[in-house]
Each structure stands twice: as structure tokens, then as C-alpha cells.
Symmetry: D2
Subunit: 346 residues, 4 copies
Amino acid sequence: MIKVGVLGATGYAGIETVRLLSKHPEVKIVKLVSQSFDGQKISDVYPNLAGIIDIECSILDVDDIASSCDVVFTALPHGVSKEVIPDLYKKGLKIIDLSGDFRYNDVSVYEKWYKESHPAPELLEKSVYGLCELYRDKIKQTNLVGNPGCYTTCSILALYPLLKAGVICHDNIIIDAKSGVTGAGRTTKLDYSFCECTENMNAYKIATHRHTSEIEQELSIAAGEEVMVSFTPHLVPLKRGIYSTCYANLSEDISDEEIEKIYTEFYKNEFFVRILPHGKIPESNWVAGSNFVNIGFETDKRLRRIIVCSTIDNLIKGAAGQAVQNMNIMMGFDEKCGLDMPAMYL
Amino acid sequence: MIKVGVLGATGYAGIETVRLLSKHPEVKIVKLVSQSFDGQKISDVYPNLAGIIDIECSILDVDDIASSCDVVFTALPHGVSKEVIPDLYKKGLKIIDLSGDFRYNDVSVYEKWYKESHPAPELLEKSVYGLCELYRDKIKQTNLVGNPGCYTTCSILALYPLLKAGVICHDNIIIDAKSGVTGAGRTTKLDYSFCECTENMNAYKIATHRHTSEIEQELSIAAGEEVMVSFTPHLVPLKRGIYSTCYANLSEDISDEEIEKIYTEFYKNEFFVRILPHGKIPESNWVAGSNFVNIGFETDKRLRRIIVCSTIDNLIKGAAGQAVQNMNIMMGFDEKCGLDMPAMYL
Amino acid sequence: MIKVGVLGATGYAGIETVRLLSKHPEVKIVKLVSQSFDGQKISDVYPNLAGIIDIECSILDVDDIASSCDVVFTALPHGVSKEVIPDLYKKGLKIIDLSGDFRYNDVSVYEKWYKESHPAPELLEKSVYGLCELYRDKIKQTNLVGNPGCYTTCSILALYPLLKAGVICHDNIIIDAKSGVTGAGRTTKLDYSFCECTENMNAYKIATHRHTSEIEQELSIAAGEEVMVSFTPHLVPLKRGIYSTCYANLSEDISDEEIEKIYTEFYKNEFFVRILPHGKIPESNWVAGSNFVNIGFETDKRLRRIIVCSTIDNLIKGAAGQAVQNMNIMMGFDEKCGLDMPAMYL
Amino acid sequence: MIKVGVLGATGYAGIETVRLLSKHPEVKIVKLVSQSFDGQKISDVYPNLAGIIDIECSILDVDDIASSCDVVFTALPHGVSKEVIPDLYKKGLKIIDLSGDFRYNDVSVYEKWYKESHPAPELLEKSVYGLCELYRDKIKQTNLVGNPGCYTTCSILALYPLLKAGVICHDNIIIDAKSGVTGAGRTTKLDYSFCECTENMNAYKIATHRHTSEIEQELSIAAGEEVMVSFTPHLVPLKRGIYSTCYANLSEDISDEEIEKIYTEFYKNEFFVRILPHGKIPESNWVAGSNFVNIGFETDKRLRRIIVCSTIDNLIKGAAGQAVQNMNIMMGFDEKCGLDMPAMYL
């Protein structure tokens, strides 16, 4: 049993991490940090946890964390993680950061898209981008993982194999993504109130969403040259789920069978990636509540274009689940440990 | 007061037509045809109408309709309209058909996408495509309107002015559209049950949806040459609303101000089309419950690409509302008559 | 055309009043007061109104209101109305107050349940309780209406005829009521965020909700003696709708036909009250979007108990619609004017 | 590892049983019976299960089941179970039946409320009512459990301790219950379509719902005399959750502390029952996705009445979860085994 702390435990990504860890057979949760709920039992803030985990939240104390924890999950707001993590890192803790602060290879990309300076660019060199299916070997070696964003996990896994195989054009890649409202986190903004969200939908942050840069970083690696994409996020009235509909022009005549084979080959050892047979289109409730990614595709012969649909649970594979998967890899546990529940469907 | 009949009155498009007509100051509803509910009061099938309109449904009787009605709305399943309408047309009735049967200029396009033959191709030459903002003058002259589809109205109005102005490339046009569940009509299919739809989303009929052909017909006219598009419909868990996110590459360097001007100029006399200032993105509840179309856009300077978002209420501007708008035009009424209610928002 | 102002125009009850008035044939909206959105166009705050009503919001100026308006709707938070209304009243304006401040006959009841003192108890004597179906004659004579609460309208109309007829026992009356989330108003409280509300339900303020006192005031009048009830509100995940399930023991053996007759007789002249035949149970979407009340009942012969179900749209018959109905009565307009649209159903 | 079969595996209660069993450490699922999906992989019917459990469905073969299974769950429609179970019972299988067919002590009660005869009344004497918290000892001894209904589990657990303690009156007990739509099962009825259910709510089967008889059976046992209750089910637009609001008159002056003590004492050894402190009202998302029951109460001093609110996940504690809990008890496993996940909350 390892000892684990969660910083920012009462946000939605934080509490989902707590929920998953509470049933992880190798983990004992010892610290829950919450500035807002210091002194309150986590099960008073989230009564679903009563009888399962009832420990008190406390404010951040780096020394205390260092002496009591082996692994720390930081589910802090973007910009806060980078202030806190250098100290934790120096203490030798294994850290999985759910913010955007340690996902970038190039600090200038971070600073351009997040519009703020980074206080620990040297840590960016140590940190590993925690997209488990792509960086498993590096994750094993690091003490600091930048856990990927929700939109990015869903979109990168959909397009990476095609770019790697060189079968799609690098321009005209379009990712039209739809997210459930938990993606906005635990927030009191009017925009996310029930009456404003339900029976409503809209695009937002067109051409400017930060996840664009993260997607481009990884797709460029796959392509071997700089790739730029149109990424358009949408808010839709459900709680859990990301759905990415990705468009790309095929660079050659290739059969649906060959495309399917590219995918199945690329992900052949991946428990959490399910490639659907050509023409079968995934639905978000096939993954909601689970750590799975479902990927399906169709081709438009008239236009020599492929449309790839991928879907994840934004709170699990898009945040807390992948964070736990990263922990499993870092600690040498079975990667599926504590994560192999099926989606709820209903 | 004109006398109006609605065929297929108990489907969702039909009953929405009835609801709108019930408050139309120039209309008296005299006939509601429903094969399934013959002999039942419409207000027993839809109790929201009790005290407003309580007449009995009856089965189809062409002579009876011809002798009692001036205008007929046919909200019948695709494929049924084309069997019924020739007889009604011969009687000299004004007909607004909400199915796909009379929307096409070229019967071969219909037969290709609907995979069935058309029994009255000669009527296709008489029928006018009822997208009011584009064909107002022709609609005034005709006795038969093919009322446009929901996805198509939303998508065509978004892209038509740009193609007409010649500022976007004709290839690489992508329309990623999201629809509420009423778009599927009054159906008992399991796919549309509450438990299967709520907290779920998915794409469907990728590269094969019939509305593709309708969109391409109109966009080709705007462009002056054949245009083919990727059109991907999605089902999202709300009742009313279509949201089209349209991607196109700009064919020239053009400022956002110029683009905005193209739109405002094109739609300057259109009450039901609201062009948002550059950068303001529409939400579907700004139009739900109304006959309005909202259109907003953003450009991605990095990629010289425009992203246009348009939204309508699929049952109103996407079906019944536009049908009533067509009737207003055909009859010489004020085009807004019975249709100028604001969206519900809440 | 009368000139109308709405105070608190940007709250949910306020904006619903604006929406209804915007299409009222006898009304010109001349003033929208909003402390939060002073100087902004109402259609920038609620873009559904663009092209329908675009006037600017302003802060409260009693003299300005008095000189420009004939009728004022005050949709202010509870406790604010009572500070503002005395000045408006002195100016001779007709006022319809949507808060709880002027609904009570007895100031001590107000002070007990609202836990604050009332600065204008003398106005309580002038104000009329605006439950149109019960107090039409008094409403015609007054300049100040205390527009009823949403739960109360729904519950009182369900039980009043039975108490008046003397067929139910006065003890053991239980009202179990369910409300959509718009009932909480335009609020940024976390409790009303999409993620906390959707797929969730709960009772709240058991035995302490303020509407209890309002219900008891009216049911006591009906009964001719003090009646106390259990009233339990619940929050359910929809936008619009109140559903009251009312339980009472029958005081005598009475047939279902006789009960139905008590209702139909009592409401025989009421356009907005629809009594369902015995055994038919109303659904909230039969009234959502309309000013109607639907009432149905069943009896449990084993227990000699009646269960009455009534439902309204909380924003319309439960707030803005009834307020407009009150205005119609006060001004001598047709009571249905601007209010006779059917429910949306879909 | 025991070998388990699920009959009616593709209904909602069936598939939820499969989902829970798929992660149960003591269980190997060997048979999934489905008349409708014979020959199809369960993961093709429910793609959320792909990679977790992919065995094929087959039609019912009693001998085959008997030879391959130790325990059988029958999640068949009411009326079908009673035809199938006698044969399975004779084979010596342990059977947990999720229908209403084996829940009654008195066959005449069954026949009265289900309006059909029972072919195996002698088995009713063998069967044990599977409300685990009440009948644990009997469940250990039996081979046939009648797994309780969803409404009944929620309601009985709320009221049983009070009746047992003798602190509430036996008349005037009212249970106003609200259910999510999965309670209707996997159905294609229009009433349960998304468009008819979302943004809608209604009571149904007032005074006639079958669960009334089941509730009365158990509450009568608690009370030591026949108790009759008003039970009113409602449909509300969410997937999972039952919420029972129970009203009863206190038979004596008793403090809230004493009432709380009655509950905490009665359930002191029950992991799955969480008694909230007086005045704290449960919400359904505190239990959704889990096997927990949350119970809270408030008293109305004015009326000497108690209002008890209890909530469960109808598919888990109200069906599949309790069925697995029954299996755990029958087999001598830890009762929490495979069931101790916290609720999802989000």
C-alpha cells in the first residue's frame, strides 16, 4: 500500500481522483488538501463518500505532505500547480499534475497559450506528458507527470495513428469537439447553472482554446513536422463525456480495411483503447464512468476524407482515471489496477 | 381567414405546425389528418392543446380536403408525401410539404439519396424550395413548396452568403451539426428513449445523411459550380435545437469586418436572421421556441479559415415555423404573422 | 396601448414578464430597471430578445418611472419590493409585485415566516392577493397586487374547491410539490449548477418553506377556519414546471363524479384552469410554456382519501403569466390577452 | 469462484446485474440468457461491456443452466419468472428473482395486485423476501429469494424502524415517491421516449401501483397489525434514482434526538444504510451508482408529523445491487463484496 495525497481534492477532477483511489487496492489516501474546506470531512463536502472515506481536508503544508505521502495528485487550478509543484518535486515525491502547467515540451508554447510566464521551465524538461498509451516508457522513469487535458486525450488518440502512418494530409485537420459540463469544473459561474445549460448548446473559444496547443504538440510529433489544427470545443447538456469528431483528408487511396488495421495494430496492446470496426460509430455512454476510449471511423469516398469519432469520460480518461493510470505505471502496478470497471451505460 | 388542413398532424412536425397555426390571426384550422388517431380529438393526443383546439382527427380524404381547405401542410413521412400530393395539387390547393419529397431540382439527386423512385417528377419542376430567405419571389408564385430540412436550413443560411461573395474555397467545407432529439420525430425506437439518449451523444449517418444532398444543391447554386461538403449530424440530449459548426478555408485575405459586412448586407431585410457581431458565438437557447436563425463567426488567422456557427429551433425554423412562413409568403400575409414570438431562452 | 415598466427585469421572473409583455397587443414596454445591467441593452443580456425588444436597462428612478409608466411590475428579491413599492404606490401607479412582500392579510404572518419586519403594513391592507381565479373582483379595484408564489398558485387552486365544498378533512392535508430549477431564479449558487442539479433530486426546507404560510392563508379562507398543511418542496431536474401532489382525507362518502363536478362547477368560467376527467393524471409538459393550470385527481377507496395532482409552469402561471393576467384584470383588458398560447409540450 | 447465470440479461435490471457481477471477485459469469439477442455477444448489445465481458447470449435451457451454474439471477418480466423458476428450483440452484413473483407471503395478495394466478404458490412459502437488512438470517438459509422492488426497498427502509418502535400512527401514512426513468426498464413505449420524458414529470398509477402491496406487507409486519398506506409514484426526468418522501403522524411527543437514535440503533450494523443527522435532507446523487440507502428526516412540530426522505439508486439497491447483496449473503461472502463502490455524485 502506498500513501497518497490529493491537492485540490474538492474540485471535480480532484474528487473524482479521490473516488477512484478510494477503491484502489494498492492505495491508502492519507491527505486531502483543500483551501476552501479546511477542517471539514471530505464526506461532508461530498456526501456520496460517507462511510467510504471520511478524512478531514487540510490546507497545504509541503513538509507535512512530503513526510506522509509517496505520491501526490495535484488537481489545482491552472497556474497554481506551477507555484506549488517545484517544492513538492524537491522533496522527491512522485507527482501527477492534472493542470496544464507541466504538459509542454516548449515553455514558449505554454507562455503563448496560457498568457503567463512559467516559474519552473527547468521542470518542464523533467516532466513527462502523461498520455499513457504514447509515453508509457518515459512515465515509468519520471517523478513528474503532466496529466493531459480531456479534449486533448480524446483528440490525440483519434488522430495519432493516422499521422504516424502517414495516411492523412497535414493541413485541413479539423477537430470538432463536444464536452459535458463537468469539464468546466466545480464552478458557480452563471453560464454553468442548470437553467442556462440544460436544453442549450454552443461553441466557445473558437480558434483560441488552450488545448489546441497541446493537441498540436503531440500531432506534430506523430507527423514529424509541425501540424496545426482547427479545434472547436462545444458545451452540450450532459455531465460526463467528450466527443471528438475529427476530419482529415486522406493523402492516398487507402481502403477502410487498411485504416482499421492501422488503428488495431497501433493500439493492439492497449486495454483502454477500443477500436470499433469500420462504420460503427461510438456513443459517449459506452465509455461514461470508465477509463476507456472508443474510436470509430467512416470515410467519405466522394471527398477522399476520413471522419474519426472518439469519445471518453472527461473526468476519468480525461482527468482522474488517466492520472491513476499514470500512477499505476510510475509505481509498477498493473496499469488497469482500480480502473477496469466498465462504463455505466445507464 | 383562410382555411387550413394539416396532414400528419400528430407527428412532431405536424403538431408543431398545429400549435403555431392555432394562434395565427389569419388562419382557421379545419382539418387534421392522422391515420393513427382517426376519430380522436387532437387535444386528447396532445393535451397541451385542450381548450385551444379540440377538433377531431380524421383519415385522409382528398375530396374532403379539397372542398374544405385553402392551404394544406403535409407533415407526412418521407415517401408518403409524394404519393398524396399529386392528387391534392390537381385540386388547386396550395401545399407546403414538410417531407424531403419536393425539395429537389433534379429528380436523380432525390432518387440517389433517398434510394427510391419519384412518382411525380413533373411536380418537382413546379415545386419551389421553401427556404424563404433565398426563394421568396418564387414562393409567392407557386402552389407547391418543398419545405427545407432542419439541418439544411441551418447550414445553408450559414454558408450561402460566403459562397455567393466568393470568399471561401469550394473544397474542404465541413459542416459538423448537432441536433436535439425532436429531430427524430415522434418515434418509439429504443435509440430515442430517454434512458438511451440522456447523458449520451453520438454522430450518425456519417457521409450518408440525406440532408447532404439538399445542402449541396443550394450551396452549388450559391457558388455557381458544384460544391460537395462533409456533413456530419450528431444527436445531443436536448429537445429543440440544431447547431451547425461550419468550417471553410478563406480564398483570400479578408478582414473580419468585411466578412461581417457580407452577412449583414446579405440578410439586411431579413427579420428572422440575426447576424451576431464578429466573435460572438450563438447559443441554441437564443432561438429555441422561435423562428429565428442566429449566425456568428470567428476566423482562425493562423489557418486562414473561417468557422461559422448557426443555430435554429429544428421544429420551428427547421420545420413548422418555416412552413408557416412559406404560407405567409404564398398568401401575401405579413411574413412574420404568427411567427414573431421571441425564443423562450428558459 | 399602456406604458409599462418592469423592475428587476433581468431576473428570471422579470425577463419572463418582459418576454410575455413584448407580444402583448395592449402594452408598450417603456422602462426596464436592473441595477446589475444599467446601461446595457436587454437583448445583450438575453439575446433571445434581439430584434424584439432592445431597450436599455436603467437603475431605479421613482420619479422617472412615475412619469413614464402606467403600470409597473416589480420582480425584485423578497425584501426589496417592500422598500420600493410605497414610493411607487404614492405616485398612483398600478403595481403588480411578484415578491412575497404584499401577499399577506396579516402582517404578523409575514414577519413570522419571512423573519423580518414589514415597513409598510398599511399597504398590506390595500394590496390584493393576486390569485386571479379567486380574487378577480378585488383585483379590478386595487392599485397594488401581491402576485402569488409558484408553489402556492399550484397548490391552492388544487385544494380550494374541496375545502370550500366541505368534502375533505382539515387535518392531514399534505402537499408534496416538485419544482423545476427556474424556481430558484437567476442564481450563481453552486446548488443550482448544471452538474449538481442534473440527474439529481431532493426535498428542501421541509416544514419551513415560506409558501406554507401563503397556502395556509388561502386554504383557511376556503375552509372557514384555520387550516395547517404539510408542504414539502422538491427540486427536480427540469427547467419549467411545478407539480403538486396533494393528499386529503375525504370527510364523507362521495363519488368521483361528485368530486369532478365540484371542480368543474367551481372553475366553470375559468379559461386557464383545466379540470381533467376523474383518473386522468396531468403531466407538467401539458402546461409548460403556458398560463394554464391542469388539475386531475384520483381517490383511494380503501383509505377514503383523495389525491389531487395539479401542475403549472412556475414562470408563467406561477409568476409572470399570472402577473400579466392581473394586469389584464386591473386594466379591464380581456383576461386572456397576450396569454392564450398553448403549452409547448415539446 | 462460483458460476453464475443471468436470465433476462439484456433488460436494464439484467444488464446492471451483469455489470456488477463482471467485477465481483468471487463470481464467474457463465450464462447470459436473452430470448431477443440469442447468439449475439452481450458486448454488441451493450458496447460499454466490450473487453470486460464478451460472452454470447443464448436462449433458456434449464438443463444447461442447471449443469453450468451455481446461482441464477432471473431478471425476467413479471409473470415470466413464476413460469421458469419452479424448474430451476427443482434442480437445486440458488435463485434470486428480480420480478414481483416471489415477494409475497400470501398468494392472495399477489393475485389481487398482479391480477393473475400464481402457478407455484408452494414456492412462495420457500421463498424469502430479499430485503437484506430485514431478512438476512432467512436469506442465508434459502435457495429462492424474491428480490424487492425499487420503490419498496426505498420506502420500507425509511418507515420500518419508526413502526417497529411504535412512534408513528398507523393511519395517515403517505409515501410520495419519485423515480428516474430506468425504473420503467428497457422499453420502446412512446411514454418513455426522450422527447416525452425530458422537461416533464407526472404522477401515475395513483392508489393502484403494485408496490403498494409489497410495502404494506412489510410495514404491517413492523407494526404488528395491518397497515395501509397511500403510495404515489412519479416519473421525473433523470436516469437513476428513487426518492421517497414519507409522511406520518407521530403517536407521541418525541424529540428529534430520540427519533435519530431509533434509526441509528436500528441500522447500526448496516454498511449500506446511512442515517443523516436530523434536518439534513438526502439528495439522490449521493447514492446514484451505489448500493447505499440514505435516510434523513425532519419533524413538523406544529403538526406533530414526521417527514422522512430516503433515496436509493433504483437499478442498484433497488434491483441489481440488492440482488448481488442477496447472493453474497446466500453464499456466505462478505456482504459488501463487489458492492462497496461509492456513488458517482457527478
